[in-house]
């Protein structure tokens, strides 16, 4: 399975998916931690992928979304953004709306 196919499957199989450095308990980067805190503050379940454990995914995800940094948030298959956008959407209440939209 190619890296792109692996990424697509991960994104398709998880409604709310955050590609990050580390995990919610031990985020390994400030920006990843900001993203986790925003998602954690909403009473929603979300999955994470630790790109530090998977160099292929770490590079592949940047090409997949043509976005050069980590973290990256996907909701129902749609790329939502990186740490800046996640925080702004959280502060404006848009993040909760996007997640709860059926």
């Amino acid at each position: 399975m190619t890296t792109n196919a692996r990424i697509k499957k991960l994104i398709d199989d998880n409604e709310v998916l955050l590609f990050m450095k580390g995990n919610p308990t031990f985020p390994q980067c400030g920006f990843s931690s900001v993203a986790c805190q925003a998602l954690g503050a909403l009473d929603t379940s979300f999955e994470t992928v630790d790109v530090l454990q998977d160099p292929e995914i770490r590079e592949g995800i940047k090409a997949y979304s043509s976005w050069p940094t980590i973290p990256q948030l996907y909701i129902r298959g749609e790329f939502i953004g990186g740490a800046d956008i996640i925080r702004e959407l959280y502060e404006s209440g848009e993040l909760a709306k996007t997640i709860s939209k059926e």
Partner: protein
């Protein structure tokens, strides 16, 4: 060490900016405020992607962290109640 002004110049050369300010003095973490007409009717993601493409492959190597705030000229004038 990479200077904020270098990043500012590179963005300005590749993206027509009404206003731009890049800060950061540790060589790897920077924040940028950018106002441009090209952001009109663009989603926040698209606006940020335009900034990233203006930086070419600098994001892969030299810049570890770049926090971006983008505004359309209208948003900027409202924000600064000009």
């Amino acid at each position: 060490m990479l200077q904020a002004i270098e990043i500012q110049k590179i963005i300005e050369t590749n993206l027509n900016c009404n206003f731009i300010k890049v800060n950061g003095d540790d060589g790897t973490h920077f924040d940028a405020v950018i106002v441009s007409d090209v952001f009109n009717d663009q989603s926040m993601i698209k606006q940020h992607q335009l900034v990233y493409s203006a930086l070419g492959n600098m994001m892969q190597s030299e810049i570890h962290a770049l926090s971006i705030k983008t505004y359309t000229p209208d948003e900027w004038s409202k924000k600064n109640n000009i």
